[in-house]
């Protein structure tokens, strides 16, 4: 998520590991390895540093991408995998895996239109879909002006920016567009990478942010933290309930709260287009994937302890990186899931 954070924290982990090996840290310290989604990397690093300080157990997380994380956990080379895309029930049963959400993030449409302040523009799903399909090509298109009565929008062409790398952000964004636009669903569909009908691709959230900043009249989608830190113009969205919401930690949490987790087996649910009146429509999470029958009982025990710690005491750390901690109702369901599904 935040590249700027990656290097220092990785160096920190390395230094820590070196120090640990040099000074022969306490014998009972356990090293847990995890791999996968880069979306959760900054927050897992922060949690693991705090957790190591508290318990002496280290969590080594490699952000190799969701696909890599899934492959690694299937191969049994790591204690947990993390993926931005939930696994299907049949995959989980086939490999004896279980999955649960770890942290929430919001994806916001960001734009660069002279004279339009951040948060002033309102968009809805079908309009965003048509912009990304190349059907709406100018900023003063009736579909946009209808949502923004009284606002002066230029007649300039819209430059569409998307991610060029495969990413969970793209997966959630295209999933949202597929839910709200039948046209998008049939023509493009959803995935970590798709065949974009129009626009240019930036590598990573930082690449997309840089393009939006540089290209006048552009629009793109980035994780909330990037829009905030780069002071990009972001749009408000009209959600499934028909109300216009701002991207805030509260509205992301509302999406997680109102999403229908109870009926989602193995938490296989994307929170996009959540029904709540306050819910931000493009809210995403990523999933931790672990074996139901532990390969190493000790490591699995520490892993659960780590995520319990993260849910209960890691909330401020998550917020400080512009992630959203899981709502209490969801944490309860996850802990019930652990109790019923995992053999400890």
């Amino acid at each position: 998520m935040l590249t700027s954070l990656k290097l220092p924290s990785r160096l920190g982990t390395l230094a820590f590991a070196v120090a640990a090996s040099l000074f022969g840290m306490t014998a009972q310290a356990t090293d847990i390895t995890g791999a996968g989604s880069s979306f959760v990397y900054p927050v897992i690093s922060k949690w693991s540093a705090a957790y190591a300080e508290k318990t002496g157990n280290h969590i080594n997380y490699q952000s190799i991408g969701s696909g890599g994380g899934i492959a690694q956990i299937k191969a049994g080379t790591v204690d947990f995998g993390a993926s931005d895309m939930p696994l299907k029930a049949e995959d989980l049963t086939k490999f004896g895996l279980g999955q649960f959400p770890d942290v929430i993030g919001g994806i916001v449409p960001a734009f660069n239109v002279a004279g339009v302040a951040p948060g002033a523009l309102v968009l809805d799903g079908p309009t965003l879909g048509d912009i990304y399909l190349g059907k709406i090509t100018t900023w003063n298109d009736p579909a946009i002006t209808k949502l923004n009565p009284g606002m002066h929008l230029p007649s300039s062409k819209i430059f569409v920016v998307h991610r060029s790398d495969g990413s969970g952000t793209t997966f959630n964004f295209t999933d949202y567009l597929s839910k709200v636009s039948a046209d998008w669903k049939s023509k493009v569909g959803e995935g970590t990478a798709v065949q974009w009908p129009t626009g240019i691709g930036g590598k990573g959230n930082e690449g997309v942010s840089a393009y939006i900043k540089q290209i006048p009249n552009s629009i793109g989608y980035v994780e909330y933290a990037y829009a905030k830190q780069n002071k990009l113009g972001y749009a408000k969205m009209k959600n499934a309930a028909g109300s216009v919401v701002e991207p805030t930690i509260a509205s992301f949490q509302a999406a997680a709260d109102t999403a229908d987790w109870k009926n989602a087996q193995d938490f296989n649910l994307l929170m996009t287009n959540a029904p709540g009146a306050e819910a931000w429509p493009i809210t995403a999470t990523s999933w931790v994937i672990m074996y139901k029958t532990p390969k190493s009982a000790g490591n699995t025990k520490v892993s659960f302890d780590f995520f319990k710690y993260a849910y209960e005491q890691g909330q401020d750390a998550a917020r400080s990186l512009d992630y959203v901690p899981l709502p209490a109702s969801l944490v309860q369901q996850i802990e019930a899931y652990w109790a019923s599904q995992y053999k400890k």
Partner: protein
């Protein structure tokens, strides 16, 4: 003499020559092993990319090469857009970098004062040591805005206009014709020289050259350039990527050229100067022919680097699989597609990306073959 040869060879000498022979053999085998290791690594890399890409190659076969469809959702993959992007950006880079490199090498070996040669040469070689990610950052944050504000609007206004507006286009046509006249006139003059003489010759050559350069200019101004430079001035795209690549390969080509220009024997050059040649004539007629194969080698070294360059290109190319003729539009290249998508690719998508890696091998191999062929043609021409 006879007394000496009659004496038996001392034992230790005999022993020594035997160990020498053994050491020679070991050394030769070690050298052969080193050479074979390179071949084995190359072959291994090529074969493993082919093996990794087998799924998509079996499924689509040649269609994979000629389709511009790249749809990870539908599992439809075609490599045309990345191949075209790779070739076009590398071509732009060569067109820009070769003349400049030649100028640099010429300046440093023939014209620059002696005190200047060392520092400037070192500075150019240092350019090669800059990591490509830095070129990418520079490209994205400095060069792209520059292109977007100054160069591309001008290009697209003056040349990218598909619907010509009378006067302005006529002026452009005349200027194009005049510029093209410079190379075409001597060409016709030379060709006609054996047949006609005097005023008739000059007049005929003029008319021929005018009509040819006029026709070329028309094609260039009204069908080639408008297509090449049509598009929004985003700053990102094939042209920008080609220019950034040109800066990156410049030090490779120019340092090779400089090195080989220095190997030209002084007496050859001095003889030519003594016969009254200008510096240009010495370089063009003595230095260049003498070093031709090494110069072409240097150019292809740069081309190889341009073809495989990843990070810098990824930053400024715009990463779009939509094929267009315009150089101002975003595109994609083989290596940047791999760098972008490999992390999250599974199944056929991953196979397609590995197959792209194999294609890069093939493209580079073909380019090198062409280079060899060109060298051989040149050698044959010389031999006649």
């Amino acid at each position: 003499m006879s007394a000496l040869s009659a004496e038996p060879i001392p034992r230790d000498t005999e022993h020594r020559s035997r160990t020498d022979a053994r050491h020679d053999l070991i050394f030769r085998l070690a050298l052969r092993f080193c050479a074979l290791l390179v071949l084995a690594a190359l072959l291994g890399a090529a074969l493993s990319t082919l093996w990794g890409g087998r799924d998509v190659l079996f499924k689509d076969g040649l269609h994979f090469l000629f389709s511009s469809d790249w749809n990870p959702v539908e599992n439809q993959f075609g490599a045309l857009a990345p191949i075209v992007g790779t070739l076009v950006t590398s071509l732009i880079a060569l067109i820009l970098a070769v003349p400049v490199s030649f100028g640099i090498a010429l300046f440093l070996t023939e014209i620059a004062p002696r005190w200047m040669r060392g520092p400037v040469g070192a500075a150019i070689e240092l350019l090669a040591a800059i990591p490509s990610i830095i070129y990418g950052m520079w490209g994205l944050f400095v060069f792209v805005p520059f292109m977007a504000t100054y160069i591309e609007p001008w290009l697209s206004d003056y040349f990218g206009d598909t619907s010509p507006s009378g006067g302005a286009q006529a002026v452009r046509l005349v200027i194009g014709t005049l510029i093209l006249l410079i190379p075409t006139l001597p060409m016709f003059y030379g060709a006609l020289h054996r047949w006609v003489h005097g005023i008739a010759l000059t007049a005929t050559a003029m008319v021929l050259a005018l009509s040819l350069s006029g026709a070329l200019s028309y094609v260039l101004m009204f069908s080639v350039l408008p297509n090449l430079f049509n598009g929004p001035p985003l700053g990102l795209g094939l042209l920008t990527a080609g220019i950034v690549l040109a800066v990156m390969i410049l030090p490779f080509i120019s340092s090779v050229m400089r090195e080989v220009f220095q190997t030209v024997p002084a007496r050859l050059k001095e003889s030519s100067y003594a016969l009254g040649s200008t510096t240009w004539e010495v370089v063009w007629d003595i230095v260049l022919p003498y070093t031709r194969s090494a110069v072409i080698g240097g150019i292809f070294l740069g081309l190889g680097r341009a073809l495989g360059e990843t990070m810098a290109v990824t930053f400024v190319l715009g990463n779009s699989y939509n094929l267009t003729a315009s150089l101002l539009m975003p595109g994609t290249s083989i290596s940047s597609s791999i760098a972008n998508e490999f992390n999250e690719a599974v199944g056929l998508h991953r196979s397609a990306l590995i197959a792209l890696g194999f294609l890069l091998f093939v493209v580079t191999f073909i380019v090198l073959l062409i280079a060899r062929f060109m060298l051989r043609q040149l050698a044959r021409k010389e031999g006649r």
